[in-house]
């Protein structure tokens, strides 16, 4: 019942007519190729004979050329846009399709273009040929002598004997509409496979999407934990200071100091998060984790620094966020050691416990070099990372060694 109503509504549906238009557009693309074949064939004829000339011309202009054109990226983009608009199909993420110049993509794209031309050509031809034929057929019973059906070859004898052809002729345009609707539906069905991304491209897009989301969540969490925290303190302390300004000036004075510190920390954290936001390579390139530590140690050694590394526990149990930051901390510590102490042996130890990751890096102090205060840019960076993970860091001279010890909670407090 519902299906019958669907069928009846085909000629009234706007989707039918949009699909019809899409097919007619395909038909309109056919004549240039025919015209070209019409130029090529006579040119070849003297050399290879009529039959061969036309075979070559039809193959080159009717097959090879459309296939080649169908492979072009702009044609693909046009076809996707037209399919979206007129066939009313969603073919998949456009961003992926744009970059998809793989041969598989080109092949599917060419297949689509040729199918569009062929199916469109058939429907377009019928659309042009049918109306005069219908008029002629309806006219036949009322005349004498043979009547030609428009440009079509068969003729119908005139006179009342040909009345049978009238209902047939009137049904033909309706049939054409259904044929166009069916062809359009067929193309719409094939569109996602021919114009959409390949499974591999779709996977890649999904992965990129997941990475973007993870990165966004990480930034949101960082903002929440750092800037949100600082602003909450500022708000509460300022509110309190205002309340007790007269009754407890000492508290108010202390509150101002705390507000200043919290606001400064908040700004610093904001700087850090904004830096991450601006640094879009952080989103694209996979960030190194402790799993890449071996490579880092090796490259540091090859730079001339004698590194002894010891690992206790399994780094597989370290959450990604901690692992990433820990890698950066080791990297910055090694850089600092090389910069400030020169070519000295560095010993690195990494211990993964049940609840904490402990990281210690030490190198002998170089007496000949002036001792630097601990405020170097590298140490600030480490401090920031440790703070963002709610860990602890101690750094400074210890006996004849420069020592930096970092303790990171494996699971941040909820």
């Amino acid at each position: 019942m519902g299906r019958a109503r669907d069928l009846l509504s085909v000629p009234a549906s706007s989707s039918t007519w949009r699909r019809f238009a899409y097919l007619v557009v395909g038909a309109a693309l056919v004549p240039p190729f025919g015209t070209l074949a019409g130029f090529v064939a006579p040119a070849l004829e003297p050399g290879i004979g009529t039959a061969a000339a036309w075979t070559v011309a039809i193959f080159v202009c009717g097959v090879a050329l459309p296939v080649a054109i169908g492979m072009l990226a702009p044609v693909r983009a046009l076809e996707i846009a037209a399919a979206r608009l007129l066939l009313n199909v969603e073919v998949g993420e456009a961003g992926v399709v744009d970059g998809g110049a793989s041969w598989s993509t080109r092949r599917r794209s060419a297949t689509w273009f040729v199918a569009h031309l062929v199916v469109g050509g058939v429907i377009g031809t019928l659309t042009v040929v049918l109306p005069p034929a219908v008029v002629a057929a309806c006219y036949a019973p009322f005349t004498s002598g043979d009547v030609q059906l428009g440009q079509l070859d068969p003729t119908v004898p005139g006179g009342p004997g040909s009345a049978w052809i009238v209902p047939l002729a009137l049904l033909a345009p309706v049939a054409l509409v259904y044929l166009a609707a069916a062809s359009g539906a067929g193309l719409a069905l094939a569109a996602p496979r021919l114009l959409g991304p390949t499974p591999a491209e779709r996977m890649a897009a999904l992965e990129r999407h997941a990475m973007r989301l993870a990165e966004r969540n990480r930034l949101a969490r960082e903002l929440h934990d750092s800037v949100g925290h600082a602003l909450a303190i500022v708000t509460v302390q300022a509110g309190a200071a205002g309340r007790v300004l007269d009754s407890d000036p000492a508290f108010a004075r202390q509150a101002l100091t705390d507000i200043e510190t919290s606001a400064r920390n908040g700004l610093r954290d904001l700087d850090h998060v904004l830096g991450l936001l601006r640094d879009d390579t952080a989103v694209r390139a996979p960030t190194p984790t402790l799993a890449d530590l071996q490579r880092l140690v090796a490259s540091t050694r090859s730079a001339g620094v004698d590194v002894t590394a010891a690992l206790t526990g399994s780094i597989d149990d370290v959450p990604q966020a901690v692992s990433r930051e820990a890698y950066r901390i080791v990297q910055e510590s090694l850089t600092n050691a090389a910069r400030h102490a020169g070519q000295v042996p560095v010993s690195l130890s990494l211990t993964v416990g049940a609840k904490h990751l402990e990281l210690e890096l030490s190198n002998p102090l170089d007496a000949s070099r002036p001792r630097r205060s601990g405020g170097g840019r590298g140490l600030n960076g480490i401090q920031e990372r440790v703070t963002s993970l709610r860990g602890q860091v101690t750094a400074g001279p210890d006996a004849e060694q420069w020592r930096i010890a970092v303790r990171l909670p494996l699971h941040p407090a909820p």
Binding site: H224, G228, H229, I233, Q237, G239, A240, R243, D248, D258
Partner: protein, 219 residues
């Protein structure tokens, strides 16, 4: 009579600020502080506060678990006012489900803080700022969204009472509005809780929002 308050927050500066705000009021007093949820139950038994200001995210035992333990293990427990930095925090909703009576943003003005404490200490009102509706709607199970509470079989009067409870009115205020006795309202509320299978008023209100009985954008 002064109202006793216990502060639970892992940030000392938040505690000291809240303490100054609360102690500046003649009728409020901070009885104790805790930096995580672990010792809250014992502290509450000892100090018998009227209201506990509870941070949600804390190390060791978070505010949700601490609220649950507190309400389960203390006779005649204090009201729990959940504190949070952000109103769209998913943990807030869990804390309310655990039985907290209301929530307050850390960016609330000092006036709002003390008013919230007094409101909760005074009786059976709930403190649900508008944001909680959105949270409840977001946590609504898809199946029950918009279906209302038809299955619960609330009488018209009970439905009316539930709406007023959700607006944060106390039994006495509801009684005044409906022109009935407070005892009658108490009975209605008890029936509503039974029919919804809710442990307390907070749960009943959450159910009302989640089921679409009260529209998120409605009153």
């Amino acid at each position: 009579m002064t109202l006793g308050v216990v502060l639970v927050d892992d940030e000392p500066l938040i505690r000291s600020g809240l303490r100054a705000i609360i102690n500046a009021e003649p009728d409020l007093e901070v009885l104790g502080e805790a930096e995580d949820g672990a010792g809250v139950t014992a502290m509450v038994r000892r100090l018998r506060p009227d209201v506990v200001l509870m941070d949600v995210r804390m190390p060791v035992v978070d505010g949700i678990e601490a609220t649950r333990r507190l309400l389960a293990n203390v006779d005649d427990p204090p009201r729990v006012l959940v504190l949070t930095t952000f109103e769209n925090d998913d943990y807030v909703f869990d804390a309310l489900r655990a039985g907290a009576s209301g929530f307050l943003l850390k960016r609330a003005r000092p006036d709002e803080v003390v008013r919230a404490i007094r409101l909760l200490a005074a009786g059976d009102s709930l403190l649900f700022p508008s944001a909680i509706r959105e949270l409840a709607a977001r946590h609504a199970p898809a199946a029950s969204s918009g279906s209302g509470l038809d299955g619960a079989g609330l009488t018209d009067r009970e439905a009316q009472v539930l709406r007023l409870v959700a607006q944060g009115l106390s039994n006495a205020e509801i009684a005044a509005q409906l022109v009935v006795s407070a005892e009658t309202v108490k009975t209605h509320v008890a029936h509503v809780l039974t029919k919804l299978g809710a442990r307390d008023r907070t749960q009943a209100v959450i159910r009302a929002y989640q089921s679409g009985f009260i529209a998120p954008e409605g009153p």
